[in-house]
């Protein structure tokens, strides 16, 4: 299946990825081929098969008591942020 330029642009927008003009045809070609490649799954009969979401059969999501276990690491985390001021994370203005 050949994906169109518009489809690539729409996928990139959903994924929040800026693509250059040169990148778009490259991904158009390779994503089309990947989608064709995984299309091999269509031939497999799976009507009664339960989808596998966890690699260990019988395992389920483990829960823990609803109590606070973390302490405040704000000061440790701030140095990795691209832009901070007064202990806050700065982003471009969202609300006019």
């Amino acid at each position: 299946m050949a994906l169109t330029r518009e489809q690539i642009a729409s996928i990139a927008a959903l994924a929040r990825l800026e693509l250059s003009a040169a990148e778009t045809p490259v991904y158009q070609e390779s994503l089309s081929r990947i989608i064709d490649f995984v299309g091999a799954l269509d031939a497999c009969e799976t009507a009664d098969v339960v989808p596998m979401a966890h690699p260990l059969p019988g395992q389920s999501q483990r829960l823990r008591p609803d109590v606070v276990t973390e302490s405040d690491h704000h000061a440790d985390y701030q140095p990795n942020a691209p832009q901070v001021a007064a202990g806050l994370y700065l982003v471009p203005k969202v609300i006019e």
Partner: protein, 487 residues
């Protein structure tokens, strides 16, 4: 003792405990090797010389006082996707070029508390997405057996470092073969444990239902020792499994007489290089001579494992990598116009081509109207593959086959076509989809390049898999061969 680099991890740990040499001497000698060969191999992203020597001095004090754990004073390297407190953790990406982790991964913390001394962080495919270490923002790693060839990936730096004896052992991770495939291509031993055996806490996530931490070593006994120290339940990883960790090292040495080995018919297909196959079949004869019985088994859905993987892994990747938003950590573009512009350009600039390809593939297969056709379909076929493995293990103890279709290939040979690159993992992906432990061990050479043999076991059978690998290494010497110039 000036032959540190040709010693096993166990010999080095024993030598330290017997005070035959100090950790400072040992660590200094390996740091010197790393620095001497870095330009040729590019196996490391960061070398932590001063922290390593400080940790070595502390190890020596601990050894002098008679304290110390199983690994006190021995050098180790970590794949650069394990978070290391106070040390840059890049995951091979521009996105995390300046990321200094505020905490340690559980694997890092456990190995440190066992006494291991970190020498540095190894190069890798960006976010562990690749099979050749060519997608790293920090440049490709070169194969110590031939610098024109790839070391495999994604744990290419860890594999090249161990193969070149720049470090006795290294940590690694395996999502679709990223421990076993580079182990095979570099002529070393690589173990991917059962999903949930080793904590994923502090491992930068790629595909959370497949990712598993493990080890790269020169031999199975060292892998047993290292796994013993890093495995175990961790409340910080919701998929960690609370199963007791056996003493894998003490469990080695059981005879293979009566072991039932299943030969995976689907692994000896037309894609397998004839010379590679010859080496693997020679190895099977060794197992027979040790008393194991070979039976052929078929896993009919296994040939679909690559297409399943290239739906499931990109889907999970697109979800996991959504956290890189240029706000709290990671790369941010210059002068964003607005919030959306900041997200799009920060991610467009911070991620490399293969990572973007996988994020977009994952976004597509999860998007409205395609979720059932691709993602749910792949999860159903994944169930069938898992059922094939379960059925096989009703009649055999372990499964054997090649690790890769061919030996190492040239840098640049497969970068133009992602599907060709993806097919390099055709024999390794099945164990990830089913969460099974699997090891690759060297089993011969084709045109002076190492070939890997893969042993896969049922869930939590690491002791059995390691024992089979160890028995093979007791009967052969392929694992003792080091590349010319690094012996």
């Amino acid at each position: 003792m000036d032959d540190f680099h040709n010693s096993t991890l166990r010999q080095l740990a024993a030598g330290l405990r017997a005070r035959k040499f100090s950790s400072v001497e040992l660590v200094g000698a390996f740091l010197e090797r790393i620095e001497r060969h870095q330009a040729a191999l590019n196996a490391f992203i960061s070398v932590t010389r001063s922290q390593a020597l400080e940790a070595a001095r502390e190890a020596d004090r601990s050894l002098a006082s008679g304290a110390g754990g199983a690994l006190t004073g021995v050098p180790i390297a970590h794949k650069d996707l394990f978070c290391t407190k106070g040390v840059r953790t890049t995951c091979g990406s521009r996105m995390l070029e300046n990321f200094i982790s505020p905490y340690d991964a559980t694997v890092v913390a456990k190995l440190r508390s066992a006494g291991a001394v970190m020498l540095g962080k190894t190069n890798m495919d960006e976010f562990a997405m690749g099979s050749s270490n060519e997608t790293s923002y920090y440049g490709p790693v070169r194969n110590p057996w031939n610098p024109a060839l790839v070391p495999g990936g994604s744990s290419g730096g860890s594999a090249a470092a161990v193969a070149a004896r720049l470090v006795p052992v290294a940590t690694a991770t395996d999502t679709g073969g990223s421990i076993r495939q580079p182990a095979a291509l570099c002529g070393i031993t690589g173990l991917k444990p059962t999903y949930g055996r080793v904590s994923r806490y502090g491992m930068v996530a790629f595909a959370s239902s497949l990712d598993q931490g493990g080890v790269l070593t020169t031999n199975a006994a060292d892998a047993a020792l290292l796994l013993r120290e890093m495995a175990g339940f961790d409340a910080n990883d919701s998929t960690s499994v609370d199963v007791a960790v056996p003493d894998y090292l003490a469990a080695l040495g059981s005879p293979l007489k009566g072991l039932k080995i299943g030969l995976l018919r689907e692994f000896f297909d037309q894609g397998l290089d004839a010379e590679n196959e010859r080496q693997v079949r020679e190895a099977l004869r060794v197992f027979e001579s040790l008393g194991a019985r070979l039976v052929e088994v078929s896993l009919p859905h296994l040939p679909l494992s690559v297409p399943v993987y290239y739906v499931v892994a990109p889907a999970e990747c697109s979800s996991n990598l959504a956290r890189f938003d240029g706000v709290r950590f990671g790369h941010r573009c210059e002068n964003p116009r607005d919030l959306n512009d900041m997200y799009r350009r920060s991610r467009g600039e911070g991620f490399g081509a293969e990572v973007k390809r996988r994020i977009m593939t994952g976004t597509y297969v999860l998007s409205a109207g395609y979720y059932d056709a691709y993602y749910l379909k792949a999860q159903r076929v994944r169930s069938l593959i898992n059922a094939d493995f379960s059925r096989a293990f009703e009649s055999v103890d372990v499964l054997l086959g090649p690790t890769t279709p061919t030996p190492a290939f040239a840098i640049g040979a497969k970068t133009a076509d992602p599907i060709t690159m993806y097919l390099n993992d055709i024999y390794t992906i099945g164990a990830n989809l089913a969460g099974l432990p699997a090891i690759s061990v060297p089993c011969g050479f084709v045109q002076d390049l190492p070939v890997g043999l893969q042993i896969v076991g049922p869930h939590f059978s690491e002791a059995r898999v390691l024992n089979a690998a160890h028995a093979f290494q007791e009967a052969t010497d392929w694992h003792t061969r080091a590349p010319a110039g690094y012996a």
